[in-house]
């Protein structure tokens, strides 16, 4: 009863006549013992259960206890001394007006340090450099009359939201951090949003430009000074209205919320103007290949090209535009303004527009600025593995500076006081902030990075040059953004 499936046609030369035992593409799985089923069952029992118990014992030995402590601190709702007009503390699981004891402020962060997005670990280098500088040269942070050292506990989440939740749980329950800081990723911050809100723990400077941080239901989460993605679109639309009011626009965006923030806002903003979006294409952010999409967009010969992309897709797309022989006005997401990415794009990046809120370490214009000099001196000293010219390191340094500024402006060292201070922040000249850009938030305006400039990349010089005046969109983000992007 042999079943011979059809063979490839052709004369039976030695090449295609295979021996019957030819290596077949199948995987034959057998258990190690092919004895009779019944006797197997009997032998199996004790050994299997023993193995299970051994593994359980291993696991349990490696974990601490902890439940009894949790039961104790889980006493009802705190907030009975914490009156605040800004933040409603009635539902807090623990009292946020408790003062910190000891000499150290413990902060926690979770970011990708391995895996696909491990390039973001450079943020950590910038942060650590700043904190070490403060601890060692300035003696620490002065809050409410007392000086504290800063300790940063960091965990790796590989950019995966469920790992972030695990990490943050550990940071809150086991490490007992005072606040969270600079957690990377939109989904990652969204995943811990409820947890942080319930526990009334500050999550400061979430490292993404998502407009979702304007959601007023979550007062314990503060976004960062990255320009919010919708504002980028407003800036570019204003630019186009001046330069080419009847421009046709082609859009390439990432297929996720990041890309949608650009595309949806843009669609909203061009309504009522002479600008027209002629085509929109998406790409999978986990794959970064954009050649076919760009070819498709290039065929429209649109006047402008909006690139709502990040990481390697940016230079990829810019290169593809060049190869297609297309020469539109290009706008690129602010998250791509890094020397590394632009170097990869090479001449294809020349003339690309974007936004910037930090001083570019590669721009000789800032070389003599005291804050830039400080950065360039201290980073190699306190974080020698970091590349000072990398924009990501600069970002980490600046956000750490923001945190220290927040702490120092806080009247006392309680979570509530610090969060309230963060919610009413109004600063300039912090870290590597642009001199003209002052950052502020208040009750009605929850977005930080609303003052910035447009920049244009000069491939010959190798850095971003300021284009036009400083743009001030203070308080405008909410009105520009489609509401479902904020409250979704």
């Amino acid at each position: 009863m042999s079943r011979i499936v059809s063979r490839p046609l052709g004369t039976p030369t030695p090449a295609n006549l295979r021996a019957p035992e030819a290596k077949e593409p199948h995987m034959h799985i057998t258990t190690a013992h092919s004895t009779s089923l019944r006797s197997r069952r009997r032998l199996r029992r004790p050994a299997g259960w023993a193995a299970l118990l051994v593994v359980l014992a291993l696991l349990l030995a490696a974990c601490g206890g902890g439940r009894s402590e949790e039961k104790r601190t889980d006493g009802g709702d705190g907030g009975d001394g914490a009156a605040s007009e800004l933040i409603d503390t009635s539902g807090c699981a623990s009292d946020p007006s408790v003062e910190v004891t000891g000499d150290t402020i413990k902060l926690g962060t979770s970011l990708p340090q391995s895996g696909l997005y491990s390039a973001f670990q450079e943020i950590l280098r910038g942060e650590e450099a700043y904190f070490r500088y403060v601890n060692e040269e300035l003696g620490g942070v002065k809050v409410g009359g007392k000086t504290y050292k800063i300790e940063l506990v960091n965990k790796d989440d590989q950019y995966q939201a469920d790992k972030t939740v695990q990490n943050v749980n550990g940071l809150i329950n086991d490490d007992k951090v005072f606040a969270l800081f600079n957690v990377v990723g939109t989904k990652n911050n969204l995943a811990i949003r409820d947890l942080v809100n319930e526990q009334c723990i500050p999550n400061l400077f979430a490292a993404t430009g998502s407009p979702a941080w304007g959601n007023t239901k979550y007062p314990w989460l503060l976004g960062t000074m990255l320009v919010p993605y919708p504002l980028e679109m407003q800036a570019f639309v204003d630019y186009l209205k001046q330069e080419k009011p009847d421009a046709t626009i082609a859009v390439l965006r990432a297929s996720d919320d990041f890309g949608r923030a650009y595309a949806d806002t843009l669609k909203r903003l061009v309504g009522g103007t002479d600008l027209r979006i002629v085509k929109e294409a998406t790409y999978n952010p986990e794959v970064s290949d954009t050649k076919a999409q760009v070819t498709s967009l290039a065929a429209t010969e649109a006047d402008a090209f909006v690139l709502g992309a990040t990481l390697l897709a940016c230079p990829n797309a810019l290169q593809a535009v060049r190869e297609a022989g297309w020469q539109p006005i290009i706008y690129m997401s602010g998250t791509c303004t890094s020397k590394t990415l632009m170097n990869i794009a090479g001449p294809a990046a020349d003339g690309v527009l974007s936004v910037g809120s930090l001083m570019d370490p590669n721009d000789p214009r800032w070389a003599s600025d005291p804050r830039m000099r400080l950065y360039k001196e201290k980073v190699p000293q306190y974080a020698p593995e970091a590349d000072v010219t990398n924009g990501i390191v600069a970002y980490g340094w600046t956000t750490a500076a923001f945190l220290v500024e927040t702490l120092q402006s806080s009247p006392k060292l309680t979570r509530l006081a610090v969060m309230e201070t963060a919610r009413t922040l109004d600063v300039e000249g912090v870290g590597l902030q642009l001199p003209e850009a002052s950052l502020s938030v208040d009750e009605d305006d929850w977005f930080l990075g609303e003052i910035f400039t447009m920049v244009r990349y000069d491939a010959g010089k190798g850095y971003f040059v300021t284009e036009g005046d400083v743009l001030d969109f203070s308080g405008k983000t909410r009105s520009i953004t489609p509401p479902d992007l904020i409250t979704g």
Partner: protein, 345 residues
Amino acid sequence: MPARPTPLRRAGPAVAALAVLAVLAWLPQYYGSTQTALFGRAIAFAVAALGLNLLTGYNGQVSIGHGAFFGFGAYTTAILMKDHDWPFLATLPVVAVAGLVVGAAVGFPALRVKGLYLALVTLGLAALFPDLVTRFVRGTGGTTLVQIPKVTAPGWATGFAPQDDQWRYYLVLAVAAVLALLAWNLVRGRFGRALIAVREHEAAAATVGIDLARVKVSAFAVSAAYAAVAGSLLVLVTGLANAGRVETFQLSIDFLVIIVIGGIGTVLGPIVGAWLFVFLEDWTKQVFPDTPLLSPALFGVALILFVYVLPDGLIGGARRVTRRLRRRPPPDGTRATPHPEVNPA
């Protein structure tokens, strides 16, 4: 023909099972919420591995796509809970049935596509699923993250589960225990024997009247249903459903690793494997706190070494040891030491 097992012998496994269940139930009483979440994860993975084991271990069809079924179950539960206010337990029957259907749908083409090619087609599934999620799911903040409303312990349970995460763990444990029992029953009955027969020799199995198509498709269906429910369980533990290409691949591969290190073709294997796996995951993260880059490396190396030493998994290895011990003749004075062992290959 071996003698009939005594009543004591027959009660053995039941007692052992109850003992293990008791230990598992005690865990959240002593351990904090971080560890409890870890245990919940191990249990959810065990359920998924049980399912995959039915398909790959007992039936020999290799699937590297069970992360897709897992995610499917997770999102079904999460969306029903978030957008339609369903209670968690009510979503499980839906997930199970949907899992059966989807599994069967994949099982039919699998009749024709075999072995390595089937494995790669399922890999394609694992790549496709996150794209479908990106396209059709609008979760929190416009992302593909779907967060469920909080599941709290009902009044009558606050005695033994004063904290909500303990209650969630008990729910997960209860569902998993039922599914494990079900799996055990399936495996020692006709279905289990049919699965093995089909794996060993399809033609012979057909000769004795086994309907090949039905067995193979059912295997796919049941294993997919298990994976889907496991996904729902994990949603309960973490509070969210999330699927990216990396995550879905990783899950698919994790399940495969689990059944191999546990021991293919046993019911306890996937369970032991899942706990061992979660332990290994956690441990490798803590060994190099300053260089998180090395954790995956350590994990990979640990995996390779494990498989060298115990190619038939922990259960297989344990059985080998037990068999060796049993073969040893009782000391009776005529020999100073027992005979050297002939390795039962």
